[in-house]
């Protein structure tokens, strides 16, 4: 049984769709907020053996509650391994052991280049954003990058104000980069993938969304998959887990 569009929020759809993308993945570098809920939802549905890596220094976390911060003590107690941040970045990420990593984005362009640094100029920013954190090296070294972000003309832009984390550049990544770059982008409207030329295309639309709506919220001429299909709406199981276990206060899902 699936819920009808009225019965779930845009964020619930986005997170459920993200979780399903993790099927078959083994080691996931988790960010806080929606990625964290998506990963924990995936562990309870499509991929129970998913190992969670947090940049704070954890491999194999087994959180007993939903961590609010990326550095919550519940990520430590009962984990497989806690190590220095140098080792997480060197021995896990840079060694190529991370299958998939989640990134958020304030702005993204058609090549998956991501800005989380500033809106406006760097020296006189209109809005000062948090900056890279680990995103720059994650985008270069993780085998596949999954992006979760809200979609609008302000976030899906023709040109990002600042490249914090490189995507497919203008279509080609140098051979010495370990990772494959952005692999999928999940928004409140649909699921995007990248062609061989590194350009983003709409792969799936969420129920109730139209192509016109997608284009209206994209700052460039969006390319469509030839076999564009609809995302399945969140299942009752997915909704129950999000609402009762993973985010009972609805901080990220409502």
């Amino acid at each position: 049984m699936s819920a009808s569009p009225a019965e779930y929020s845009v964020n619930e759809m986005m997170i459920a769709a993200s979780a399903r993308q993790l099927e078959g993945e083994k080691v996931c570098f988790v960010g806080i907020g929606p990625p964290n809920i998506a990963c924990n939802l995936a562990r309870r549905t499509v991929t129970p053996d998913l190992e969670l890596v947090y940049e704070a220094g954890v491999y194999g976390a087994d959180p007993q509650r939903l961590p609010l911060s990326i550095g919550d003590p519940t990520l430590v107690t009962g984990a497989v391994s806690v190590t220095s941040m140098f080792e997480i970045f060197s021995f896990y990420l840079q060694r190529g052991l991370i299958d998939v990593a989640f990134l958020g984005a304030s702005q993204i362009d058609r090549f998956g280049n991501i800005n989380t640094t500033v809106i406006g100029g760097y020296d006189e920013p209109k809005v000062r954003l948090p900056g890279s954190g680990g995103a720059c090296e994650i985008s270069i070294n993780a085998n596949r990058v999954f992006v979760i972000m809200p979609q609008s003309r302000r976030s899906f832009v023709e040109e990002v104000d600042f490249v914090t984390s490189p995507g497919h550049l203008a279509g080609r990544r140098p051979a010495e980069w370990l990772g494959g770059g952005p692999y999928v982008v999940v928004t409140g409207l649909g699921i995007y993938r990248f062609g061989d030329d590194g350009v983003m295309y709409l792969s799936r639309m969420h129920p109730g969304v139209t192509v016109e709506q997608v284009q209206a919220n994209t700052g460039w001429d969006i390319r469509l998959s030839r076999d564009l299909v609809l995302t399945d709406p969140p299942s009752e199981l997915e909704l129950n887990l999000m609402r009762n276990e993973l985010d009972p206060e609805g901080i990220y899902t409502r």
């Binding site: 003590p73 640094t117 900056g131 600042f162």
Partner: protein, 317 residues
Amino acid sequence: MSHGGPDGGQEGGKVTSMHDAVAGLVGDGDTVAIEGFTHLICFAAGHEIIRQGKRDLTLCRMTPDVIYDQMIAAGVASKLVFSWLGNPGVGSLHAIRRRVERSDPAPLELEEYSHFGMVSRYTAGASGLPFMPLRSYHSSDLPKVNPRIVELESPYGDGVVYAVPPLNPDVSIVHVQRADKDGNCHVWGFLGCQKEAAFAARKVIVVCEELVDGRVIRSDPNRTVIPGLVVDAVVAEPRACHPSFAQGYYDRDNRFYVAWDSISRDPAKLEAWLEEWVYALGSHKDYLAKMGAEAWARLTPDRCLSEPVDYGAYSPG
């Protein structure tokens, strides 16, 4: 195992008060790192720096967090070296944003890296190396706005990496769970950059939850993250990380992090908060008294002990 608080019979060594440690070791104009990645962030040290009116500091931290928002609002710093600027899990650090976006009330110089860049800078500093190579920054705009991040050809002709320079703070302040009077420290849970920041610094202040007998440290030498060799002062200041946390001792006070958002949006409210919770108090003991004991019931976890390991007694055979 015999624990001793600051009044508990652990005399001598490098043990001192937070006031004296900060007064004696932190100078105006210094480069100061209060490290701890979400965990073990020594807010009490930051408050003491504010109280003593230090000026013109270069503050280093991967994640400036709420404590640097407070310190920068209080005017102790002219420069920030960092890799992620936010209130983790909540949103923005508004006092810092006002200074960066509008020079309000004064400009703040930024020197910006990624997390791996900052970690590598501390590691190079701790290792006596002139640089550390890493695979990051390719095609990012970060090297364009920070000329200290430079390209470097592999000497084996197999491609390009980037380099970052060492970071050697004048003073690193690190919080730990257990220290003895000589500054030998056990740390568990997230280690952040506590070790690298300590080895990299010219002077080190260790703040601990518990001052323990040296025999406790020596019962588990593999747990020793920082040796007293690099430590100049030891301050026993329990609960000094609130609203950050100390694994096994107290939880992160998420309510405070959420509440800080509205306080820091409003300069007048922020100033009133500093007045009430920092300037009007003499020490962290006053802060704890003002918080009241009830808050700690909510923040104290149940016990969850590690399995011990056997080192073996190897005596003359």
